[in-house]
C-alpha cells in the first residue's frame, strides 16, 4: 500500500525516498531483502 502510494506520487523515487517510505512498513519474517529486490525491479520497470 505504501509502495503504491509512493509510486503514484513519484514514478522514479530515489533509493533514499524508497527507504524512507518503506521503513515504516514492518516485516517480522525478515523478507525485507526480497521486498527490496521487488521494489527495485518495479521502480526500474516503471511505466
Amino acid at each position: 500500500m505504501t509502495l503504491a502510494a509512493m509510486l503514484d506520487a513519484e514514478k522514479k523515487p530515489s533509493r533514499k525516498e524508497i527507504d524512507n517510505a518503506m521503513s515504516t512498513v514492518l516485516c517480522r519474517c525478515g523478507s525485507y531483502y526480497r521486498i527490496r529486490k521487488a521494489v527495485d525491479k518495479l521502480v526500474e520497470d516503471g511505466e
Binding site: L26, G30, Y33
Partner: protein, 704 residues
Amino acid sequence: MKKGAKQTRREFIKIVSISGSGLILASYIPFNEVFAKIGDDTKIFSPSVYLKIDSKNVVTVIFHRSEMGQGVKTSLPMLIAEELEVDWEKIVIEQADADKKYGNQSTGGSWSIRSTWEPFRIAGATARVMLISAAATKWNVLPENCYAESGYVINKLNNEKFSYGELVEDASKLPVPENVKLKDLQDFKLIGKRIHRVDTPDKIYGKAKFGIDIVIPGMYYAALSRCPAFGGSVKSFDASKAKSLSGVSDIVQISNGVAVIADSTYSAFKGRDALVVDWDMGPNGKTNSEDIRNGMLMHIKSEGAEFENRGDINSVQAEEKQLEAVYELPFLAHAPMEPMNCVAKFENGKAELWAPTQDAQNAKSEVAKILGLNEDDVTVHITLMGGAFGRRLVSDFAVEAAEISKASGKPIKLIWTRSEDMKGGYYRPPSMHSLKGSVTKEGNPFKFSHHVIAPSITQMRFNKNLTAEKSEIKGGTVNLEYQIPNLRITGTLIPTHVPISWLRAVYNTQNPFAVESFIDEMAYTAGRDPYEFRKDMLPADSRLTNVLNVAAEKSGWGKKLPKGKAMGIAISAGYGSFCAQVAEVTVSGNKLKIDRYTAVIDCGIVVNPDSVEAQLEGAIGFALSAALKGAITIQNGGTKESNFDDYSILTYDEMPLVDAHYIVNDYKVGGVGEAGIAACAPALCNAIFAATGKRNRRLPIDLS
C-alpha cells in the same frame, strides 16, 4: 534401497471406499474416517494417512504440520510427489486437523523435513509401486515392464497407459509392500528445484485465512483481562461499567482472568478495558529485571554443574595470555506479526477450535483437560499463521478461548491485542555467560571455559527436578568442534517466575553469541586473524570448516577495507546443519550500517533451495532485530514493553544485503528454520569490534 522398517507398516492404512456401502478396511490400525462421499461413485486409494488418490485421478497430499510462513506446506508434499511420480501442479494439498493418526504434528525444532524425509518418500514410493503392480496385472505383464510418470503407469512394451485414477480400485486390493526402492538422488525431478510456495498466491490476493481471519456462524468476540504481573490472580472484579457498553453481552471469569464477550472486537476491547479488576499480584508482584539479573550475577563466580570437560582447565602455560569476559542477554519476545488468537466453539459437550497453532495435538489435549472432555470430543483445525517463531507451541491462547466459549455458552473468537501479545510471556529466557580462556605465545588456543547461567524452559515448565547438567541450557555450549586442549563447560540453572518458552533457535540464540564472540576475543588476544584462528582449531575435513572457508572466500575476507568498514565472522552447528556468516559493517561515530551478510549453510540434501535461502535471510532479519533492538524488561512482576515502538524490530532500511549460499552435497538432510540464527549476532559484534575496537558483550547492542 531403503528397508521398510516396522514403523512404516504402522503408517499404512488401506481403505477401499465403495459408493454407499460404507467402509471396508484392510488395515493394521483401527481407522474410523470415512473417505467415501455418500452417493458419490468415487473410489479412493489411500495407502498412507498422508496420501489419497481417487478414481477421478485427483491426488491429495495431507499436510499434517503447521505452515507459519516457513514453507513446509510446500516442501513436505514435494517429498511424496517426487516418489509418487505425479505432476506437481495437479496435486491438491489438504491441511489436516489434530489427530494422533498423523504421528507427530508439532512443528518446530527445524525438524519437519528431517522427520518426514524418509517416511514421506516411502509413502509416495509405496503408492507408486502398488499402482504399477495393479497396472501390470491388468496388462498381464511383469511390473519391471512398466514405469510411472506424471500420474500415469506406462507399459514399456506397447506404450499403453493407465492414469492413477483408473488403477485406484485394483491398487486398493493389493497388500502393502515393504522395502520399496526409493529414487536415487540424481533422478529427482522436484526435490532440489526452486518450487514456488503453494500458499503464496492466496497470501498475495488476500484470500489466505490466518487464525485471525476465521469467522464462524454465530460467533462473538472476546477480550481477556489478565493480571499485569505473572503469577497473579483475580481477587474480585466490577463488571458494571463494562456491561453497560454497547455491544457487550457477557462477562465471564476463567482460569487466566476475566473475559468480556461482545459483538465486535472493538466492543470486546472497550468492554475489557472498562473492567475494574482487583488483582492479587502474586508472589512476584515486585520483581524487576534488575532482580532477575542479580539472580544470575550471584552465580557468576561459581563453578556451575559440569557439562563437558577435557584436559585440565587449571593448567597454565608459560607466557600464555589469559582473558575473561562476561556476556549477557535479555528476555526476548517472539512478537509475530499476527498476535495470539483462537476461535472456539463449545457446544453439546464437544469443543471445536480453529487455532493458529504449532502444536495442534497439544492444543487438543490441553483443551480437553481444561474442559474435562475426552480428547475425541475436541476438534482442532490448524489455520495458517502470521509468523510464530516458537510462540505458538504454547497452547495458552487455545485454552483461554475454549474456557471462554464454555463459560459464556457462545462460539467466540479471542484476539490478543499487540500489547497483550507483547506482555503475554513465554519469552526467550535471559542468560549470563562467564567465559575464560588463554592463548599460547605462538597464538594457539590453550584453555577455554564457559559457565552459562540461565533458566531452563524444560525445568520451569515441565520438570521441577531437572538438574543443570541434564538440562537443555547446554545447547550450543558443548561438543564444539574447536580442538582446544583444555576445555570446561558448566552451567547453573536459575528459577524465574516469568513464563519462558522456546524461541527460534532456543539456547542457540544466546550460547553461540557468547562462544563465537569470545573465540573472536581470543583470536585478537593472540594477535591472529579471526578466520585463520578458527580454521586452525577445526578438523580439516569438517563440514563446519568447509562452510567457514566458503564464507571467507565469498565475502572477500581479508581484503583491505576503507576506514570505518570491517568484517566479522562466526560459525555454528545445529539441527544437523552447519553455518558460517560474515557480517560487513560501516561504523561512523555511533552510526552503524550493516552493509552485507555472507551466509553459508551446509544442510545436506536440499529439498527447496528457495526455502533454504529464505530461511537464511529471514533468520538474519530475526537475529539482527534481537541483536540491535530486542529486549523485554520486567517491572512489578510483568512486562514493561507493549508494542513495536518500545520493542523495536529491524526496519526495511536497516536490513543488509544477504548473499546466501548453500553447499551442494548428499549428506543427510538437515534442518534449516533455525540454523541461520546462531552465527548472526556474533558475526555482527565481531565486525563492530574490527571496525571500532569496541566489544559488545551485552545485547541489544549499545553503540554509544
